[in-house]
Symmetry: C2
Subunit: 341 residues, 2 copies
DNA sequence: TTGTAAGCGTTATCAC
DNA sequence: GTGATAACGCTTACAA
């Protein structure tokens, strides 16, 4: 009762039976008589027995644990995704070990090693901005640990992915600006090595093309899309010889930062410059003007990613990698609304 | 090289030495010659050896893992706190298993059991709104697993806590409203069984007292402080016979929800009703009018909680429970500013 | 400095 | 239906 150091051997001794029988009874093995089961369970409760999952995991080579690697836990998109993962994992009897790369390749690498050492059954990851290939994830391949990417992924065969259609989203955002009358549209982009930013950029280009608007390289401003980057990018926008009247930013953070700078200078949004962001952070709905953006359903994506991973974990060799691409939803708000509806 | 199923025995066999020597070499035991260490490490790399932490943990009764229980991962305060915990834990070589109670006592109970079964070395928790005593945490006491509370705590001797001074914060918020000229101040409160809400309420009462304002029970509106509750509470405020001209809400969510309702009705904030929230959610800074609130430094609290826990884990019997109470900071913004500064 | 052997708590295999 | 035993991979007295 007192110490939590009760093992099946203690139960066995007290009941004068063998510990293997106790083990079977506790696991509800059909080959054990009901009577024995009852006795074992009663005694287990009496002694305050707790199964030692370490021993069990060691023996079974199965930890019922999923490793999660995200750039930053406190970013709303990621915390919602994690919340979705947790709910799904909890239902299936899995725990989540959660780690943040803080956008550093080296840290991501160490985390991968640690998760692998801890023998997680699978991994869900959204890669750092410094990650350009899968060399720091090879350890999972080697150990046949399934990996599911969400949002920031690598284009690698054999892995499952949960994404939104970034190309389409980039296209929709840009087309929306064009239809609102914008002629010179800048694009705030992230590192081009990341698929998501490349695809958003390609979508932007494609929309320009469709409407016969000349693509100008100088209008694409790349950065890490942090708050300070948004400010810098806004300054670059204003320093251009041509008059930019629209911005498609590859995330909300940079978009908002730019918008607030414009506001301070008396530049009107959307009249002078219309802005579209990406992510639909909660702030975007309440800021004034409210920010038009692409919705990224974090919670939902987390759930899907977890389900994909669980089926790979359980179906063994059977299941193959799957890529789920969600349709993007453009949420039109005031930062881009120039025309009456 | 191929399978990750390499154990110290494999290394031992290849080198014609004993596995215990390999173990010692890998753990950099001084009693092993440098030459042997070098050979072992080289062979380990060659074979792609990975220490099995399950076996190690089982043997050492130490998992280097901390369990975290929060009501909801996606709430900004909690995700920041978790981010702070993760950074601190990472540095110390610990992993975090993160679970959410979703405000349900039963779920919290099951999670506690599961964390205990997983033999976490310690637990950091912010309790659910349904939790009124420590009966579902007794398992940790039984197993001598240290527990640190943060924010939503239980008033139990023997446990460490990281809190902000809720009484003082309630007092400051209310006094601020009084000094801005409010005469009838309502209070949106959470479940009174939770220390934090009780203390915020007491602070509110105490400020009224100091300024000789009659406390009216009908002005205290209790709920779970969700978005919908804020709306309901706002309606109750307007239905009162007396004209309420100030609100101190025990969280930002309810405050903002009420504010938006007032705005829709054409009631001016702060001129007709001044509002102060609690938490300093990111939204509060950008909403219009911006919300005056009490800052709750989640990231910082997470760091402190983790450090407290780690010292309890490592210092064994030595360290005693400690309660860290942070000074509250009132962030004055436009939702309450009636006077020129 | 290294080897031997036992044990952490569980479960699977084989026997009876 | 139950028991005996070995094994998962690691660590640590105790010997040598």
């Amino acid at each position: 009762m007192e110490n939590g150091k009760v093992s099946i051997h203690d139960i066995a001794r007290e009941l004068n039976i063998n510990s293997s029988t106790v083990s079977r009874a506790l696991n509800n093995n059909p080959r054990v008589s009901q009577k024995t089961k009852d006795r074992v369970i009663e005694k287990a409760n009496e002694l305050g027995y707790q199964k030692n999952l370490l021993a069990s995991s060691l023996r079974n080579s199965k930890t019922n644990t999923i490793g999660v690697i995200v750039p930053r836990i406190s970013r709303h998109f990621f915390s919602s995704a994690i919340a979705g993962m947790e709910e799904t994992a909890y239902k299936a009897g899995y725990n989540l070990i959660i780690c943040q790369s803080l956008e550093h390749l080296e840290r991501e690498q160490k985390i991968a090693q640690s998760l692998s050492d801890n023998r997680v059954d699978g991994v869900i990851i959204s890669i750092s901005m410094e990650t350009k290939d899968d060399h720091n994830l090879l350890i999972f391949k080697k150990n046949r640990t399934p990996v599911v990417f969400f949002d920031r992924h690598l284009d690698i065969p054999g892995n499952s992915n949960v994404l939104i259609d970034d190309f389409q989203a980039g296209f929709d955002a840009t087309e929306h600006l064009i239809l609102q009358g914008c002629k010179k549209i800048a694009h705030f982009s992230g590192p081009q090595e990341l698929e998501i930013y490349k695809n958003r950029f390609e979508g932007y280009k494609s929309a320009l093309e469709k409407y016969n608007i000349q693509f100008e390289k100088s209008l694409v401003i790349s950065s890490k899309l942090m708050e300070s980057d948004g400010l810098e990018s806004a300054k670059i926008v204003l320093s251009q010889p041509l008059t930019i009247d629209g911005i498609f930013s590859a995330n909300d953070v940079a978009a908002i930062s730019a918008m607030q700078y414009f506001k301070k200078l008396g530049i009107r949004v959307p009249e002078d410059i219309a802005i579209v962001g990406f992510s639909n952070e909660p702030i975007s709905a309440v800021i004034e003007p409210s920010l038009t953006t692409i919705d990224q359903p974090g919670f939902e994506m987390g759930k899907i990613a977890t389900n994909l991973l669980l089926s790979q974990i359980n179906d063994k060799e059977g299941t193959i990698a799957e890529t789920i691409i969600l349709k993007p939803v453009l949420v039109v708000r005031n930062s881009s609304k120039r025309l009456p509806i």
